[in-house]
């Protein structure tokens, strides 16, 4: 009985407060994004995204209640089952899914619908945590690493097949989790280096400069470290691989990526090349945010977002409304909110004594971080346009519910951290 009484005081209210503030701000900005002066509908109007978002918020609160009431052992016990059912849903999408906005990722029953891919994030995080949290798990066993990567790759692949590239990329964030739980940083570093070089290649028109740079770095590394045959061999192979990446960039851009994906990368490099064509999103998004100035144009006074210059202004590009109407001050508040939120989550993750809980917590951290970095990054022209929502701000039931579940399962586990067995 004592446990039941304590649950509310054990929840991390700082995180809940941050969550509440962000959801509320998101709701106001969704209203601002779709507000039309001539029609002058109220924020409560259900024909507007803001009215519907309120329904989603209320539903999310019901979800929170269920998550908190459910036994804390539920999530670990049924981790694989939840994962399996989600995969089934992802497959089901191919047969009964609806196409929304070019992506066949929507599943609907009557007027209720949702995107299983949003829930697949929760399920994958749970499954990974369960696998890593199992007694006797050792990260340095190659078999374990392959199984874990497979657990990430299966939902990712299914979502890619639904042509929802953005959401699929989010699953890449789980690499961070494996890294935190002891995987060699090699994969992470190689991935980041490949991405960095990929982008560099786009900016540097003459690839021979890059090759020369790699050669210089290689020689320096060989001279500075131990000169064992094994080390020199590894470094040389690494350098050759990177050179290969550079050579393949052109091939990837022109032959592997779809035209709209190629354009998004081109727009990142030079949005002015075709401001009315592929550069439209980035250009308009930057104009909206940039025109906000220091204090912004004021609530409901934005012109760029309201008059559809910015695409998807209440979902993926919701940050434009904030930037335009509330200026740098508003952007600052939102970015700082996310920094504090993420640091708080890392703090929560680190205080878990149970490995399942900690792993899951890092899964949550990684997903929120990835969404935050990529979403805001794309609106201000630092990342290519990848259609993923800004947590708690973007309009949409599935994404809000997905993020809420992720967060509150973590908070539920955190509330019971002293009762969970320490298995590490």
């Amino acid at each position: 009985m004592r446990r039941e009484l304590d649950i509310s005081s054990n929840l991390d209210w700082i995180t809940i407060l941050l969550f509440g503030v962000m959801v509320f701000m998101g709701w106001l900005n969704i209203y601002a994004a779709v507000y039309d002066e001539e029609v002058n509908q109220s924020i409560w109007d259900f024909s507007l995204n803001s009215g519907r978002q309120l329904l989603f918020i209320i539903t999310a609160i019901v979800l929170i209640a269920i998550i908190v009431i459910l036994d804390m052992r539920f999530y670990e016990t049924f981790g694989y089952l939840i994962y399996g059912s989600t995969l089934l849903l992802l497959i089901l999408v191919f047969f009964i899914g609806k196409e929304v906005g070019g992506n066949k990722a929507w599943i609907g029953i009557g007027s209720f619908g949702g995107q299983p891919s949003e829930f697949a994030k929760v399920a994958t995080a749970l499954a990974l945590a369960k696998y890593i949290g199992a007694v006797g798990f050792k990260m340095d066993r190659m078999r374990n690493q392959i199984i874990l990567l497979g657990m990430i790759a299966i939902p990712m692949g299914l979502i890619l097949l639904q042509k929802d590239t953005g959401t699929a990329l989010v699953f890449g964030a789980f690499i961070f989790v494996l890294f935190r739980e002891g995987m060699s940083p090699f994969l992470l570093i190689m991935g980041m280096a490949a991405a960095l070089i990929f982008v560099l290649t786009l900016f540097v028109t003459n690839e021979y400069y890059l090759h020369a740079g790699i050669g210089v770095v290689l020689i320096l590394l060989i001279l500075l470290g131990k000169k064992t045959v094994k080390r020199i061999a590894i470094l040389t192979i690494g350098a050759l691989l990177i050179a290969g990446v550079i050579e393949s960039v052109d091939y990837i851009i022109t032959d592997v990526l779809k035209p709209h994906q190629q354009n998004r990368i081109k727009a990142l490099v030079n949005p002015d090349a075709d401001p009315l064509g592929y550069g439209w999103n980035v250009t308009q998004s930057k104009i909206a945010i940039g025109s906000g100035g220091f204090f912004g144009k004021g609530f409901l006074k934005g012109t760029q977002t309201k008059f559809d210059f910015v695409p998807e202004q209440s979902t993926d590009f919701i940050f434009c409304t904030i930037g335009e109407e509330h200026g740098w001050v508003g952007s600052f508040i939102v970015v700082v909110l996310f920094i504090v939120f993420l640091l708080r989550l890392i703090y929560l993750a680190e205080r878990q004594k149970n490995r399942f809980a900690r792993t899951f917590a890092y899964g949550v951290v990684s997903i929120f971080f990835f969404h935050f970095a990529v979403n805001i990054g794309m609106t201000i022209g630092l990342f290519p346009v990848i259609g993923i929502p800004l947590p708690f701000f973007s309009y949409g039931g599935s994404s809000l519910w997905g993020f809420t579940i992720l967060l509150f399962v973590l908070l539920k586990l955190d509330a019971h951290r002293s009762q969970l067995l320490q298995r590490v």
Partner: protein, 603 residues
């Protein structure tokens, strides 16, 4: 294990956040470009064009009005299933031309596939009626109406001027920034002179618009909007009937007729021949017509009444007489023998007084008169004496308005020339000139130059017995009267008493002298003077100035008919017909009219 790796996560979060804040600061606060871009995106500056002022004649007849003209605009984004073959059929253009139009459209600076952009301009009312019914079959095509000028009658072209799209150089010179590309502006005539009054004030409305260019209400509740004010209507002193009659008489001739109401300086008619139909320089055919008209060897765009500089000829003798009287060089009774060994003369007279000399246009008489004016014996040195005499002569002569612009309300008025000492210094490259070098001035030949307007104004000055109002076309701007300068009486330096001599002489010219039978009217006393301006080897210009009635004159007139012989013929006939028409509303001398119409005067 691996606790240290949490630091990496914290660092990653912080670094990402800080990069975002810096980048945001740079695009939101440091870079002001985005604000302008946002405004040009979403704020549409809509110009409300005021109606250009109308122009009336003195009797309230409409001369210039506004007529609708249509531009065809296209929004490229909406023209997905455009049927070009059908379009060519309906709009009656070739597919080649259509292709060219589209290419031009896409090259325009303001072109955007989302916004309406000009495809075909200046469709007339007639063109528009033809296509109107078919327009809704083409998606993405829109009609925009604006107004252009229409002319009630095919007359008065050079005085009214024309209106056309502002040129690039005019746009660059416009320091007030009133005009925008594509605006209409008065290019000549009173359309240009009264541009500021006619154009009105444009209104501006700032509209918000969405990405498709659809209006979304006013910007800041219209705080910055202004209303348009229509241009002011102009009432001219032109008598349209008289103007049309004058143009009718001048057909087939080169020259000009200027008729002025002496009591006010209002111009009753201003005829330049050959002329053109002002309606040719409006609408769609403007460009091609302008090329034709401006390259015509008869120079229809040359506004002769104010731009053609002629030697005045014998009509100048009236002015000479008055200057001489004023300078006491002669009296009205001074008789001088007609000594034809000095200078040629005509007729049978031999020893006339001033009135007779004017009536017979005696050349030796005026040769002698000018000698008396130029050489008064103030200095013994004939060069210095001539210098003093010419300066005094010039002062009196220019007080009639000769030798400088009268200030008519039309652009490009010419000065004419009344020689002055420094002029001959330059011409002879030394001050060594005297009367014998310049005596041609005596009979209105030599270096003298006048424009027809100045001669009409001179007739009006004599009619007024000593003063004139600067001749002007517009007598009323938006019910506020004419420009203030036209309310000023300009007095000559000549004693009004001497004008009576001139009036008597001019009456005598018509009743008994060179102007006799063609200029005379049965019920009214006409005062006039003939002139035949030499053009060796071609025929003389026929010149006549006149005013009538003798007392309380209502019309003063000058007529120049190029290369058509003696002033007593074509010019005197036309002048008297014009006077008759103005005073009585009709002419009753068909033989004179036939003489004018059938004479071969254009060589």
């Amino acid at each position: 294990m691996n606790e240290g790796r949490k630091l990496l996560f914290q660092a990653l979060v912080l670094v990402t956040g800080i990069i975002f804040l810096v980048k945001l600061f740079s695009i939101q606060v440091l870079d002001t470009r985005y604000e302008d871009l946002a405004n040009s995106n979403a704020i549409l500056k809509q110009i409300e064009y005021p109606a250009r002022g109308l122009i009336y004649d003195r009797n309230g007849k409409l001369l210039v009005y506004n007529t609708p003209e249509f531009d065809l605009l296209a929004i490229a984004r909406e023209m997905d299933d455009f049927d070009s073959a059908k379009f060519c059929d309906v709009f009656d253009i070739s597919s080649e031309e259509l292709r060219q139009r589209f290419a031009e459209m896409k090259k325009r600076r303001e072109y955007s596939p989302f916004k309406p952009t000009l495809l075909i301009d200046k469709l007339s009312n007639y063109d528009f009626a033809k296509i109107q019914d078919n327009l809704d079959e083409f998606k993405g095509l829109y009609i925009q109406a604006r107004t252009t000028r229409g002319y009630a009658s095919p007359s008065l072209a050079n005085a009214l001027g024309y209106v056309s799209e502002i040129s690039k150089t005019q746009l660059e010179r416009d320091s007030t920034h009133v005009y925008r590309q594509g605006d209409y502006i008065g290019q000549s005539g009173i359309e240009a002179y009264y541009e500021e009054h006619l154009r009105g004030t444009r209104g501006v409305r700032y509209k918000l618009r969405n990405v498709k260019g659809i209006e979304k209400g006013s910007f800041r509740n219209g705080e910055y909007d202004t209303l348009s004010v229509p241009g002011k209507d102009l009432v001219t002193g032109i008598d349209l009937d008289l103007q049309l009659y004058g143009e009718f008489l001048m057909q087939g001739k080169a020259g000009s007729i200027v008729a002025i109401e002496p009591a006010t300086g209002e111009i009753l008619s201003l005829i330049s021949g050959p002329s053109y139909d002002p309606n040719l320089l409006t609408g769609k055919k403007y460009s091609s017509n302008f090329v034709l008209i401006s390259s015509d060897t008869n120079k229809p765009l040359f506004n002769r009444p104010i731009m053609a500089q002629y030697r005045p000829g014998s009509i100048f003798k009236i002015a000479q007489a008055m200057v001489a009287l004023q300078q006491k060089a002669i009296s009205p009774d001074t008789r001088i023998p007609c000594d034809r060994s000095i200078i040629a003369c005509h007729g049978t007279h031999s020893y006339e007084d001033l009135r007779g000399a004017i009536a017979n246009s005696c050349n030796p008489y005026f040769h002698n008169v000018l000698r008396r004016v130029i050489n008064k014996g103030i200095e013994n040195d004939p060069y210095k004496d001539s210098r003093i005499g010419l300066a005094a002569w010039n002062k009196d002569m220019t007080s009639f308005g000769f030798g400088g612009k009268l200030g008519i309300d039309l652009p490009n008025e010419k000065d004419g020339l009344i020689p002055y000492p420094e002029y001959y210094d330059r011409a002879y490259n030394s001050p060594a000139w005297k009367f014998s070098n310049i005596y041609s001035l005596a009979i209105g030949e030599g270096e003298n130059l006048v424009v027809p307007l100045q001669m009409a104004n001179f007739a009006a000055t004599v009619a007024n017995r000593g003063y004139y109002y600067a001749p002007h076309i517009v007598k009323d701007i938006g019910e506020e009267g004419p420009l203030p300068t036209y309310n000023t009486k300009n007095y000559t330096t000549i004693d009004p008493a001497h004008f009576q001599v001139a009036v008597d002489a001019m009456q005598f010219v018509v009743e008994a002298g060179t102007g006799q039978w063609r200029a005379k009217l049965p019920d009214v006393i006409v005062c006039g003077k003939t002139g035949s301006v030499q053009n060796e080897p071609r025929p003389d210009h026929s010149v006549f100035i006149a005013f009538a009635p003798r007392d309380n004159p209502r019309i003063a007139i000058s007529v120049y008919v190029e290369y058509s012989g003696q002033g007593g013929r074509a010019a005197a006939s036309i002048a008297s017909l014009m006077i008759e028409k103005y005073l009585y509303g009709q002419t009753k001398r068909p033989h004179i009219e036939q003489y004018v119409l059938n004479g071969e005067f254009l060589y």
